[in-house]
C-alpha cells in the first residue's frame, strides 16, 4: 500500500465530501423512517412503527398505474431520443458542412433554456393541437430536452472512435448503414447506454414539462408526488413519504445499474489504462 499523505486542501475537500454524504444519507434515512412511523412530532424517532401507510399507498393512491405510466413515458422518450439523436451526433462529430454552426446551436439551445420557459407556450400549443393532457403530449414535451442531451453526450463519444476504423470499413466496401450498425454501433454502445440511462433518469425526474402537459391519467410519479405533497392535509404525510421512497428506490436502482455497467465519464482513459497494463 502506498502511504497516503493529505495536504490541508485535501483534508478540506474530503471533509466537504463527508459532510455532503452524511447529509444525503440522513435525508434518505429520515424519509424511510417517517414512512414507517405512526406519529412523529419533535422526537428523535417516531412514537411507533407500522406498515399501514404502505398498504394505503397501494390501495388508495393507485401507485401501480402511476408507475406504469412513468415507465412507458420514460422508455418511449429514451427510444426516440437515441434513435434520432445518435445519427445527428454522428453528423456533428464527423462532418463539416455549410450551416453546421447553426445546426449545432439549434441542437444545443433546448439545454441552455430552462424547461419552464418553452414549457408554458409548448403546453398551450399542445392543448391547441389536442395533444395536451395525454401521454402523447407528455412524451413529445419530454423529447425537447432529451434529444439534444443525447446529441450533446454522444458527440464526444463519436469523436473518440478512431476515424481510421471507419475508413477501413469503407475501404472494405461497407456502406453508411453497415458502418452505423456493425462498426460504430458496437463501439458506441457504452456511450449509448450511458446516455440512455441519463435520459431515463432525467425523464423520470422531469417535473416541469410533465407537470404542464399531463392530465389525470398521464401523470408520472414525480408529478403525482408533488400533487400529493403540495396538497397538504388531504393525504397523511407518511403516505407521501412512502411514495417518495418508491420514487427514490426506482431511480437509484436505474442509476446504480448504469454505473455498474458503464462508466459514463470516459472511454478514452479506460482504453489508455488498458493499453498501458
Amino acid at each position: 500500500m502506498r502511504k497516503v499523505v493529505l495536504s490541508p486542501s485535501g483534508w478540506l475537500t474530503w471533509a466537504g465530501v463527508a459532510v455532503f454524504l452524511t447529509f444525503v444519507t440522513s435525508l434518505i434515512v429520515a424519509v424511510v423512517v417517517s414512512s414507517f412511523g405512526t406519529v412523529w412530532l419533535g422526537t428523535w424517532l417516531p412514537a411507533g412503527f407500522t406498515g399501514k401507510w404502505w398498504e394505503q399507498t397501494w390501495s388508495e393512491f393507485g401507485l401501480g398505474n402511476t408507475l406504469l405510466v412513468t415507465l412507458e413515458v420514460a422508455l418511449l422518450v429514451v427510444l426516440i431520443s437515441v434513435l434520432l439523436g445518435v445519427p445527428a451526433a454522428y453528423v456533428l462529430a464527423r462532418r463539416t458542412f455549410p450551416g453546421k454552426k447553426i445546426v449545432s446551436l439549434l441542437l444545443l439551445l433546448p439545454l441552455l433554456v430552462p424547461p419552464i420557459t418553452y414549457g408554458i407556450p409548448l403546453a398551450t400549443l399542445l392543448y391547441q393541437w389536442g395533444l395536451g393532457g395525454n401521454m402523447t403530449g407528455v412524451v413529445l414535451a419530454n423529447l425537447v430536452p432529451s434529444l439534444p442531451f443525447v446529441v450533446l453526450t454522444m458527440t464526444p463519444f463519436v469523436e473518440q472512435v478512431d476515424r481510421r476504423v471507419e475508413d477501413a470499413a469503407r475501404t472494405l466496401g461497407a456502406g453508411t448503414p453497415r458502418i452505423m450498425f456493425s462498426v460504430l454501433g458496437p463501439l458506441l454502445l457504452p456511450g449509448i447506454l450511458a446516455g440512455a440511462v441519463m435520459v431515463l433518469v432525467r425523464t423520470v425526474g422531469m417535473f416541469e414539462l410533465t407537470f404542464l402537459t399531463s392530465g389525470a391519467d398521464s401523470e408520472t410519479l414525480v408529478v403525482a408526488l408533488y400533487a400529493a405533497k403540495s396538497g397538504a392535509g388531504i393525504r397523511a404525510d407518511q403516505t407521501v413519504d412512502a411514495i417518495a421512497v418508491v420514487y427514490m428506490l426506482s431511480t437509484v436502482l436505474l442509476l446504480l445499474v448504469a454505473l455498474r455497467f458503464v462508466n459514463p465519464t470516459q472511454l478514452v482513459t479506460r482504453v489508455k489504462e488498458a493499453a498501458n497494463d
Partner: protein, 298 residues
C-alpha cells in the same frame, strides 16, 4: 451546339463542400427541435405581445417591470440561483480532480456522490423538512451539543431553497467535471512533474487551465437548472416571500390565473435572463484555451 465545359455534377460539387446524403441523418433531430422547441418559442413571444388584460402589445412587460410583485421575483431568483451555481461548480472541481486517478473505492464514492440526482425535488424537500426543520435532527443535535440556544431556521426560507439546489445540482456538476478531469491526459501532468512542478504548480498551470472550458459549460448547465427552480421553492421555501421565483410566477399566471399571455411574457423574461448569463460565461470561455487535452507523441 456549343461544346459544353465539362462540369462536375451537382452532386459532386455539393459533396466537395461536405453536403451529401449522410447529412440526412441529422434531419429528424433538427425537425423535432424546430417543431417542438423553436416554433413554441416564437409562438410564446407572439403570445406575450398580445396581452389578455391590457391593450398595448408591450403592456405585459411594462406591468412586469412596474409592479414590485413581479419584478422582485427576478431578484429573488438571481439571489438564490447564482450562489447555488457557483458553490456547486467550485465544490465539484477539487473533488473531481482528486478522483481522476484510480484508487480503492473510487467507483463507490462516485456512485454515492451521484445518488442525489435520483432523489428528485419532492423527496429532497420531504427529507430536508425532516432533517433541517425546527425540530429536525440537525437542530436536535446542535442543541444537544450546546452549540446553539435556539433552533436555526433552515427551511421555509432562502436557505431551504439554496440547500436543495446544492444537493440536487452538485451531483450533475461533479459528474460533468469528473468527465472533463479524466479526459485530461495523465502524461501531461507526469511531464510537468518530471520538469519539477510540485502539486500546486501542476494544478495551477496544467490541470486548472485545461479544466476551465469544461467548468464554463458546467456552470451554464447548472445555472439553467437553478434559475428555473420551481417545486423546491414551493415546498422548501417561502413561496409568498423570499422564494417567489420567476418560474413560479410564470406557472401561476399561465395555468392558475389562466393568462397564458402574461405567463409567456414572464417565461420569455426568464429565458432572456438565462441567455444573458450563458452568453457572458461562454464569452469568457472563448478567451480560454480550446485545444485538445491529450498529450502529443513521445
Amino acid at each position: 451546339m456549343t461544346a459544353t465545359v465539362v462540369q462536375p455534377s451537382l452532386r459532386l460539387r455539393l459533396a466537395e463542400r461536405g453536403v451529401d446524403l449522410r447529412l440526412l441523418l441529422a434531419v429528424p433531430a433538427v425537425v423535432v427541435v424546430l417543431v417542438l422547441f423553436v416554433y413554441p418559442f416564437v409562438f410564446g413571444i407572439r403570445l406575450s405581445l398580445s396581452p389578455q388584460r391590457f391593450t398595448n402589445p408591450f403592456d405585459n412587460y411594462r406591468a412586469f417591470f412596474s409592479d414590485p410583485y413581479y419584478y422582485s421575483s427576478l431578484l429573488n431568483t438571481l439571489v438564490i440561483a447564482v450562489p447555488a451555481t457557483f458553490v456547486n461548480v467550485f465544490a465539484a472541481v477539487p473533488i473531481a480532480v482528486r478522483m481522476r486517478r484510480a484508487f480503492r473505492g473510487r467507483r463507490l464514492l462516485a456512485a454515492a456522490l451521484v445518488v442525489p440526482v435520483s432523489l428528485g425535488t419532492v423527496f429532497l424537500a420531504d427529507g430536508m423538512l425532516n432533517v433541517l426543520g425546527p425540530a429536525g435532527w440537525l437542530n436536535k443535535a446542535l442543541l444537544g451539543l450546546g452549540l446553539i440556544d435556539d433552533p436555526i431556521r433552515l427551511t421555509n426560507n432562502w436557505w431551504g431553497v439554496f440547500l436543495s439546489l446544492v444537493v440536487s445540482g452538485f451531483p450533475f456538476a461533479f459528474l460533468l467535471m469528473l468527465a472533463y478531469a479524466s479526459g485530461i491526459d495523465p502524461s501531461l501532468e507526469n511531464a510537468a512533474a518530471t520538469l519539477g512542478a510540485n502539486r500546486s504548480q501542476r494544478f495551477r498551470y496544467v490541470i486548472f487551465p485545461l479544466l476551465l472550458p469544461g467548468a464554463a459549460v458546467t456552470l451554464c448547465l447548472n445555472f439553467v437548472m437553478a434559475f428555473s427552480v420551481f417545486p423546491s421553492a414551493v415546498l422548501l421555501g417561502d413561496p409568498s416571500g423570499s422564494s417567489r421565483v420567476l418560474a413560479l410566477i410564470a406557472y401561476q399566471e399561465a395555468q392558475e390565473r389562466l393568462d397564458p399571455s402574461m405567463g409567456s411574457a414572464v417565461a420569455m423574461l426568464l429565458a432572456a435572463a438565462q441567455l444573458i448569463f450563458v452568453v457572458l460565461v461562454l464569452g469568457a470561455r472563448s478567451l480560454l484555451y480550446t485545444g485538445p487535452a491529450t498529450g502529443g507523441k513521445g
